[in-house]
Every structure is written in C-alpha cells, then in structure tokens.
Symmetry: C2
Subunit: 513 residues, 2 copies
C-alpha cells in the first residue's frame, strides 16, 4: 500500500471552505469547443436512419427483461407490451426524450471548482472503465486490486487532463463482489475531489452510491443536484436487463445522470454495416432514454455509443478501424438532433501493450470522437486489450493526448493577435520571427505542449538513455503517485463515509454469509 | 546488394504490352473520397486570410533570389520589382493561378494501370522524402545508402497502399551528390512501375529526370503528358531560391507538375499563430504558383503546405500537436478556394524510434490530412525524427494506416445493403447476427483490416512471443523485400537508361573533377 497524507487538518465548514478556495483555478474543469462538430452524413441520411430506428422500435421491439415496473411504465405511456417485448409507436420514444431530457447538465464535484458541464459545447475526459486486469511494463499483466483502483483514482486526480475521476476504473478483484462498490465510491470521494460515476451492478448498489454521495455533499445538495453520471449498458441487440434498468431507475428518481449506452460489437450484436449499427444504437438508446424520462422527467440522460468492429476471421473485437469512426460521426449527429449529450469511447485499442498498435488504434478513435463532438468521453485514458486491461503507462500516454486536445477544439484564432499581421509586416523575406514582438508576447502559450514527446536531437536523446515514450511514461506514473497528496476531506465526513461502509458491509455479509 | 530478378524475358512493344495487361487490376491506383472535406474556418475567416495574404504580397513582397528570369517574367506580368524583391498588386497572383492552373491532372505511371489523378476527390499516398538517415530496430540509425534507397522503392512498389514510388525516399550518401539524382530516378523506373517524383536539386537535374522519363515513356508521351510531380520548397519566410525556381521552370516548360510548398517551422520561419502561418503559406504559395503559370500557363501545380510547430524551450521542431492540424484544415480550404490540388504531410513525427510517440504524432497529422481533403500526401510512410530518418518498420506501420484510410473516405453506405434492415428485422432481441444472410453476404468486405494489428487473446499473443507491433513490422519488411519481384521493363529501355546515366556521370565527373 502506498502511504497517504490524509490531510486531517481540522474538519467542518471552515476546512471545506479553505479547501475550495485553495483549489487550482488556472485549470479548466472541462473543455469548451469553438469548432463545429464534424458531420459526415447528410440531413437526409440522418432522417433515413431515424426512420429505420423507428421501424425497428415499432416492428421488432425491445426486450425489457425481468423488470416488470418498466413494462408497466412503458405500457402506460402508449407502448405495446407482449411478454417482455415492448414495441413503440413511431416517434413515441423521441417525443418522450425531447419533451423532458435536458440538453446539458452540471455534474457537481466535491470540489466545486471541478464541477463539469455535460453536453452542448462541453467535452469531458474520463478514465477507462471496467477492466479486470492491469498492465505496467515492470510487472506485466495481472488481476487488478483495490490498490490499483486507488492508484488510478490518484492518477486521474493528479492529471489536469482528466475531468472526472471515473467509475469502475478497474475491477478490484481482491474485494468481494457484493462489497466492491462501497470501496470504489469511497476511493473516488476520498482520494479525489473530481466528479465521479456511481455503481450500476445492482439497484441497491446505486442507492449506496447515492447515500455515500449524500454524506459527502449533503442530503439537500444531492436532492437538488446531479453529482453522479453512471454507465447503463444495453444488452445489445435490443435488450435492457433488470440490473441496468434497476440502477437507472434509482439514479433517475434522485435526478442523477444515466449514460444509456448500447454496447455493440458489429457483426455479432449488430449488422456489419455502419448505418445498421447506427440504426440499432439509436433504437436501443431511444428506448432506454425514454424509460428514464418516464421514471422521472427531466432526469439527465446521456446518449452513449460504444461500437467496435469484429475480426471476421477470429471473432475478436477490433479497434481503431474506420467503421467505428464512421459510426461515431453518425451517432454523435443523431444525439445532437435529439438534443441530448453524447458519450463515446476515447483511446480504445485491442493491443495488449502500450505499443504502436495501441497508439494508432487509440488515436483513430480519439480524434474522430473529438471532431464528432463527443461530450462525455469515457475510456479517455488507460484502456488496453479491448478493455480487459487498464494500463499504467497507457494512462499517462493517453492523458497527454487529452492535454493537447483543448487547443484543437479552440479552432483558429482570427483575432488581431491571431492574424499576426504585425509580425508578418515586421519580418523581411529570409529573416526569422524569433525576436519579433508578436513572438515574444505569445511565446509562453503559443503551442500546446506534450509532456511525453521527446523533441531533442538524436544525440541528446541517446545520451539520456534512448528511452521510448512508453519508458518515459513508466517513470511519470511512478513519480505522480510518489508526489500525490490527498485532497482535503472534512474529517467528520470521512468518518461518516467509513461508518456507513462498515455498517453496509456487515449487513451485506449477514445476507450473503 | 540484394539480388534482383530483372525479368529480361524479351524486349520491345510486345513485352511492354504483356506487362501492362498483366498488372494487378483489383487494387485502386488512388483513393476517391465520398465524404466532404472538413472545414473549420468560416468563409469569412478564409476571406480574411486571403485578404491578409494579399496585403503581405503587396506590402512586404517576396524575394526571388539569384534568378533574374523570374524577375523579368513577374515584372512583365505587372508585379513591382525592386532588386530581388517582388511586390504584387492585390489579387494578381490569384488571377494568374485561377486563369490557367488545372484543378486536377493525371500523373502517368510507367504501368498505366497505376496512373493517378491528383486533385479533386482523389487522394494519393507517397513515401517520406529527403532523409539522410535510415532506422531499423536491428541496426539502429545510420546514414542512408543507395541500397536503402532501392529498398524503399521496392517496399513502396510492393505496398498496395502506396500510390507513388516517391522521390528522394532517402538521401543515398554513398553516391556523389552531383550524380545522385540519376541513380534515384533510375531506381524509380527500374524497381517500380508506379508514378514518381523528379529531382529538384538543380535545373540540370530536373532536365535529366525528364530525359530519363522520355527514355522510359517515349518522347512524344512525355511531351504531352505529366509523368512527374516534383517538390519545390520555398525558403520561408517569403523567399524562393534559384535552385528551386530553376527546377520548377524546367518542369513547367515540359508540362511536368510542381508542388509549390512553403516549408514552415512556426515561431522561426513564420509567426506562432495558426492564422499567421496560413496567411504566410498562402502568400508564398501564390507567388510560386503564379511564377509557374507565367512560365507555362496550364502546367500542373500543387499547393503544398508543410507546417510544424517549434518547441519554444529548445527550438526543435515538434509534430503531432494541434496547431499544425489546424493549419492543415485551413490551408486545404484555401487551396480548394483557389481551385488547385492540395499537398500536405502525412505520418509526421519527431520521435527517433517507431514507438508510441511516433504513432500518436503521426496519427495526429495523418487523420487531419485525410479529413481536410489532402490530394497528395507526401511523407505518408516511413518518416521519423522530424524527417531526418526513414524508418523501415515505420514505413510498414504507416502504410498499414494508409490501407485503412480508404474505407474512412468512402463514408457511410446508405444503400439498401448498407441500411441492413433485413438483418435488423431478422434477428430477435438478445440473439446474434453472425449467421444472418446479410452478415454472410457482407462477411468478406465488411471491415477494413489492419495487417499489423494483433487482435488475438492475451494468451495466444503471449504464446506467439508477445511481439509488439514494431517487432511484427520488422518481420514484415524483411519478408516483403525477400519476396520482391522486379516489374518488367523493356530490356532496350533499361539499356538506354543505363547508357544515358553512364554518359551523364562521365560528363558530370569531367565538370566536377
């Protein structure tokens, strides 16, 4: 276990105030884009996909499994229910979503300077989610533990480029499954003050997440504000299961945000074509989002999309190929037409190690996601091996790319300073711009800077050990963890959290033992 | 020296015909995009940049150094010439270019099935250009030789993803500088049948390139057709030198294509802002392209842009940062407004080795170039270390990404098959799509496939040696060279080429000795 500085310098409001005012202010809590999202499908094409999605919702329908309350709710709203199959009149889901789902929402952080906007022109980067393994170049691949979980929470806290602390950043296999969610939510509240994601592994786990958040934020605050965004995955094709529906219902009733995410491996869970995947994604997401709005109109929902292609040779998922990028551009445009925030994956790859395959595949998802207008970029850092492993070096390498993205989204500065005509007039042909007033004024902020890239001469680089980017990232994550300082947390709050967790674990053990 | 199969199975027209008809036809000689180029600057913004470029051309002017014929020509056309400084009335260059420069042209290959279109909706990938060093993971970094040059010509010939054979794919330092261009052009004609780039290191070298091409294509053919596109770099800021102007003039007089390329390291040779770099690039390119059109109206020109940022700490060039990507989107749009083909860099990086830095930086240039609508992508494969080294593994890794790009540029198929409604209607919720008729019909071509990516399970991958993508690329380039077969070349033509080269070398030695 790494040693932590718990910062118990007095509790109560005064400490919380001190902590909040001492928070860094120069770092933006989220990115705001100036460039328009890129669209590659015409309005007519998008209308066709919407029409087809309605056809599927009407003719094939969606299964809502083992969750009778959903069937009742949807039936009352006008859907045709036969067994667990729900068929929707054309346009029904869209109307329900458009009537009450917010276009943007604020997800509050424990540290208010880190609260984020989700939707609209905002983009947030969020660590990868759900890996049972971790990987680093020293020890290789192994099952993840709670120590790994805490480490990734700390790395995300320390990175100015991660806007959320994440959710199940890894699966801590050394903690019993029924209790795991408690330690995970605690880690997000204790080792970070960034916004985080709640548990979705059961309705009761969602409620525990809310109850823990209430201890940290205050009952009234949580009653009135969104403090969690949680990942509700479909069982594609065309199925929502009781676990996810139960968690979504709990969050919706408390006005907490649900990310309604079809999870598609094209060829297996969906057709092999881009338009087919987009159609199915839209149909599944519409049904899920409509359910949430019926539970509690106005509860924030995010339209999620996770789409990978399949190797038609081996059946394995592949990443970084053109088809998922095309899906991304298409579904992002569909989400905008619906008027809800959009979530996609970020630095996705199939590679087992942080190598050129990992980087190329990641960039081939990351850049399209940025350009398409993603609002909530899950898996923005750390993802390896199709999500089976969370990589320490990969996390640092990906976060570095996230750090460069802000400048891209700002677009081209056409102000007088941006036009640089003074400099262009000042410098004669064949001369250089290094000493011009314009260069000197803009020197510090002129170019986004990678923290990983080595731009030295070959000889300098060789003298310093001929390190690859992955080797440099290896040093960086160790240094970041060594330098980590726990954000302040009111001692009384911490005790309340620990007490709640102890009692819940006891009661869970009584049940399971 | 690797041993070559020279294929001297009889000469003359019959052999040439046989060769041409036996060429593979399933591979497209160039990509054609269906998705619209991405623009990130408004029309008003682009007009502002054009206005500013005209202001620079009018007020500051451009130096045409040590090349009196250019001064005469430009003066006669209406420019104001003072010493070597040329100032242009507003709009003059644009009018000259728009009046006669072709929007697209065909660059003919020795093998007609490999001829490419440059401009419009077409995109061609071209190997990296100009490195004095080579790098492979076995032997590390070393000066390039003629053997390396031949190897890269062979690798580009063998790759279905490289559309041109390139130009100075490396600098063969074992060949004397004055003779080097002869061996280079010979290698492109002998070891490949793809289109290539001519020498620009002197007007005489350009003429030699044309004379060699005449021997391979026939005098009449070269007189009437473009068989070379050559790289004419500006000496930014705002300067064209005699070497480049002389080469451009020779090519233009023979209706061969010139790529007029400002070569900018922002902060040193241009202002630090994106709009400033775009303005200067436009001004320099306009002046260069106008010169070519004055030499020979209608000679093909390509609007080139090479823009890198500078580390403001060390002065080193950096790659893969957001600012050059923004320049790329902006300048591509300016080229379209001018109505000429656009050239940019491709897989650029500062990294010394084919690692994650190399891949991330490369993708951060490659994807914007694709999306921005590049027509002629120079440096599409092999580039390392800011262009100082050509990498064997990097070439294979980059070419693989080029291979994926075609599907991206095709965009979303909205045909009946693309919509996949049959499949979506056929599969019930919770079932899979693997066996549907639609999946089976589309199985083979459904997804673009990387030749490098490993999508196996961790255990399979480990069993096969835990190879990184770079290690796999190392095996691949060796195998490709081992399997290489020289394309057919009429024996008489080969002899004529060798004879010409021997005589020219003798005469050059007389001069320099």
């Amino acid at each position: 276990m790494t040693q932590e500085h718990r910062g118990r310098q007095g509790g109560g409001r005064a400490a919380r105030r001190a902590q909040r005012t001492s928070a860094p202010t120069e770092v933006q809590p989220y990115l705001t884009r100036s460039i328009a999202p890129v669209e590659i499908v015409s309005n007519e094409g998008l209308e066709l996909i919407e029409h087809n999605a309605d056809t599927i919702l009407e003719e094939v329908g969606i299964d809502f499994r083992d969750y009778p309350p959903a069937l009742t709710l949807l039936s009352q709203a006008g859907a045709e229910v036969a067994g667990e199959r729900v068929r929707f009149p054309r346009g029904m889901c869209r109307e329900i979503v458009k009537a009450s789902a917010p276009a943007t929402y604020i997800q509050h952080a424990r540290n208010p300077t880190r609260s984020v906007m989700v939707g609209g022109d905002a983009t947030v980067f969020v660590p990868a989610y759900g890996s049972p393994f971790v990987f680093d170049v020293d020890k290789g691949r192994r099952y993840a533990t709670m120590e790994d979980f805490n480490n990734f929470v700390k790395l995300a806290y320390a990175s100015p480029h991660m806007h959320l602390s994440g959710g199940t950043v890894v699966e801590p296999v050394d903690i019993p499954v029924p209790e795991r969610h408690l330690d995970m939510v605690y880690a997000h509240l204790r080792y970070s003050d960034k916004p985080f994601m709640g548990s979705v592994t059961a309705a009761g786990h969602a409620q525990d997440s809310i109850d823990l958040a209430k201890l940290a934020f205050g009952d009234d605050f949580v009653a009135e504000n969104t403090v969690m965004t949680s990942l509700i995955n479909a069982s594609s094709p065309m199925t929502w299961d009781a676990t996810m529906l139960g968690a979504a219902e709990v969050y919706a009733r408390s006005m907490q945000a649900s990310m309604i995410s079809p999870f598609i491996l094209a060829g297996a869970m969906a057709p092999v074509t881009v338009a087919g995947v987009a159609t199915q994604t839209l149909a599944e997401a519409l049904a899920g989002m409509a359910f949430v709005q019926l539970v509690n109109p106005g509860a924030p929902v995010v339209f999620g999309s996770f789409a990978s292609s399949m190797s038609m040779q081996t059946g394995a998922p592949t990443f970084g190929t053109p088809e998922p990028a095309l899906v991304l551009y298409t579904v992002a445009a569909l989400a905008r037409r619906l008027g809800v925030p959009f979530r996609s994956g970020g630095n996705l790859c199939a590679s087992k190690v942080p190598d050129v395959q990992a980087a190329s595949e990641s960039m081939a998802t990351f850049i399209p996601a940025l350009m398409a207008g993603v609002n909530f970029m899950l898996h923005a850092a750390g993802w390896l091996e199709g999500g089976l492993a969370m990589g320490y070096e990969k996390f640092i390498l990906d976060a570095d790319q996230c750090g460069l993205a802000g400048k891209l989204l700002e677009g081209v500065d056409l102000s007088e300073n941006g036009q640089a005509m003074d400099a262009l007039r000042e410098v004669d042909p064949g001369q250089h711009f290094l000493g011009t007033a314009h260069t000197l004024v803009n020197f510090e902020t002129a170019f986004a800077r990678s923290e990983i890239a080595n731009n030295d001469s070959f000889e300098q680089w060789e003298d310093e050990g001929s390190l690859t980017a992955t080797q440099r990232a290896n040093s960086i994550w160790k240094q970041v963890l060594a330098d980590y300082e726990t954000p302040l947390l009111d001692e009384a709050v911490d005790e309340a959290l620990l007490d709640f967790i102890a009692r819940r674990k006891e009661s869970l053990r009584d049940k399971t033992g």
